[in-house]
């Protein structure tokens, strides 16, 4: 009887220790993640890309997070973002930049496997494929899933609009319809931002030429203020 009770206490103690360990590991992973995120958010709020040294620190912190909690898709996705930022600091088209983009894409693919319902991950995949000049079935599939899962997410709407503005004339028609739909939904809140983003990409004439026939309400974009 006493042995049985001692066994139960021991088991409970072991379970408690395991729970404390797991919580501690997750807490530590979160702490590393928070450190990385602070660097990225700080740079974002300052309107600049993090410097190479900051990216190295962020990447190291994220790797430590992943070592403690390898199945957290957020850490995987964030590491992909850091690699993408590295790529953006290199000359466009450079072999090293392409390699960094490929590494980022691999991270995003892993994140998509872990969390297939995340519109952010799919948007990231579509944006990376576009930068790699690989508008293939994976690109169109990612775009479609981003729209399906993040239809009403403002950041996703803006990202889809941005992808459309970046390479409008080379997109297949279903992607154009999807982009115009995102613009239409984002318009009531984000019209100023969308106009500014469109202007940053230059000539809107090709978009406007097709907006009228594809999705009439999205052609609001083309009305001069």
């Amino acid at each position: 009887m006493r042995i049985g009770r001692a066994g139960l206490v021991l088991l409970a103690a072991l379970l408690l220790a395991a729970a404390i360990y797991a919580a501690g590991a997750r807490g530590l992973a979160d702490a590393h993640y928070f450190a990385a995120r602070s660097i990225l958010v700080g740079a974002t709020q300052a309107g600049r890309l993090p410097g190479p040294a900051e990216l190295t620190v962020a990447a190291t912190a994220l790797r430590e997070s992943l070592a403690l909690e390898p199945s957290n898709p957020l850490f995987v996705e964030q590491l992909g973002r850091v690699q993408e930022m590295r790529a953006r600091q290199l000359p466009p088209g450079d072999t090293a930049a392409r390699e960094a983009l490929r590494l980022a894409l691999a991270q995003y693919r892993s994140a998509a496997l872990m969390r297939p319902g995340s519109p952010y991950v799919w948007t990231g995949i579509a944006a990376l494929k576009l930068q790699l000049d690989e508008t293939d079935f994976e690109f169109y599939g990612a775009l479609e899933r981003a729209e399906r899962f993040g239809r009403w997410e403002p950041a996703v709407q803006l990202a889809l609009a941005d992808i459309g503005f970046t390479d409008w004339r080379l997109l297949a028609q279903p992607a154009k319809v999807l982009v115009l739909g995102a613009i239409e939904r984002a318009w009531p809140r984000e019209s100023v931002e969308i106009r500014r983003m469109a202007a940053a990409h230059g000539d809107l004439e090709p978009v406007c030429a097709e907006a009228v026939s594809l999705l009439r309400r999205a052609s609001l974009l083309c009305v001069k203020k």
Partner: protein, 328 residues
């Protein structure tokens, strides 16, 4: 034309396909044999293509430069977009023997192209039919390094199945969000945006509707299906128009066999025959292309502006708030 295609039964289609296959092999043999004379060590890597023949209005656009009407004799570098107008067409040839026939009102882009006759594992061919119609006869790269070949048709990616030889001959139409692919010879794998692969052998075809519904069947049945609705009739017509290029394709295959042979240094184009004159003209244009390493290809699309890193960070639990284009 619709009646012409509609009246072809599967046996007739198969016979046409077999005749074309025999002609293809004959062409390749004739081209190679007739030209196997002197040897000049020309074999160099080439990155680019040539419009061998065109009809009507054909415009080209390189990167973000304004589009301009194509002038014969000007080769096409990777990154070039080719547009055909109404009642227009273009036959684009590549040094590895790939032949693309663009139908009217089509937009096509050479995304990447690199042919190294000395090392086909380093060769790559990535083409994109953005809209309109295209018939493609795959060349040497597809035969020896099929993984390096991708043809994007609207939202569908078409790859080559290496287990079937000789060269693959396929037609594709991308129109108003729908895609149709038919295979005349060889075998292809079409990847849908869902990631689902669709194997298509000679005499088979597929149709992906605008709302993502897939139909695959024999070419004859597929063409019948397309004839049952308005948009499909247009696509059926475009596929029918592409079959009208059979004779032109056979001639081009023979010409390109001569070009490829000369590029490899296996023969020269000394004799003054019409075929060789055409081949010499193509060869001259291909040789005028700068070596692949020195080509200033238009830069890939710039990173989208949303968020500093281009991709929006996961919200909520996430990676910081996207600050949109204001960050850049």
């Amino acid at each position: 034309m619709i009646h012409f295609i509609g009246s072809l039964n599967p046996i007739e289609i198969e016979m046409t396909s077999s005749i074309r296959l025999v002609l293809l092999l004959l062409g390749l043999a004739l081209g190679a044999n007739a030209l196997a004379q002197k040897s000049t060590p020309v074999a160099t890597a080439t990155a680019g293509a040539v419009i061998a023949e065109k009809r009507g209005s054909v415009r080209i656009q390189v990167g973000a430069e304004p589009p301009q009407y194509h002038q014969m004799g000007k080769p096409l570098l990777p990154g070039t977009t080719v547009d055909t107008g109404p009642n227009s067409s273009a036959v684009i040839v590549y040094p590895d023997g790939t032949i693309c026939v663009m139908g009217e009102q089509s937009k096509f882009r050479i995304v990447r192209y690199h042919y190294d006759p000395n090392d086909l594992s380093k060769s790559e061919e990535w083409l994109n039919l953005i809209s309109g119609s295209l018939r493609i006869m795959m060349g040497e790269i597809a035969q020896f390094n099929p993984d390096a070949v991708r043809v994007q048709v609207g939202v569908v990616t078409v790859g080559v199945d290496a287990s079937i030889l000789p060269g693959t001959d396929a037609s594709a139409v991308a129109q108003s969000g729908a895609v149709a692919v038919t295979v005349q010879d060889g075998r292809v794998v079409a990847y849908l945006p869902s990631g689902q692969p669709q194997q298509l052998s000679a005499g088979q075809g597929m149709y992906l509707s605008e709302d993502g519904v897939l139909r695959s069947d024999t070419t004859a049945h597929l063409l019948q299906l397309l004839g049952q609705f308005a948009q499909g009739q247009d696509m059926q017509q475009q596929l029918a128009d592409l079959t009208g290029y059979n004779q032109k394709i056979v001639q081009t295959i023979i010409t390109m066999a001569a070009v490829t042979s000369a590029l490899k240094g296996d023969s020269t184009l000394d004799e003054a025959t019409a075929q060789k004159t055409a081949a010499a003209e193509i060869l001259k244009q291909l040789e005028s292309l700068p070596p692949p390493g020195t080509i200033n290809q238009p830069p890939p699309p710039s990173a989208p502006a949303v968020g500093v890193a281009g991709t929006p960070a996961t919200g909520g639990g996430g990676g910081g708030l996207p600050c949109a284009a204001s960050c850049n």
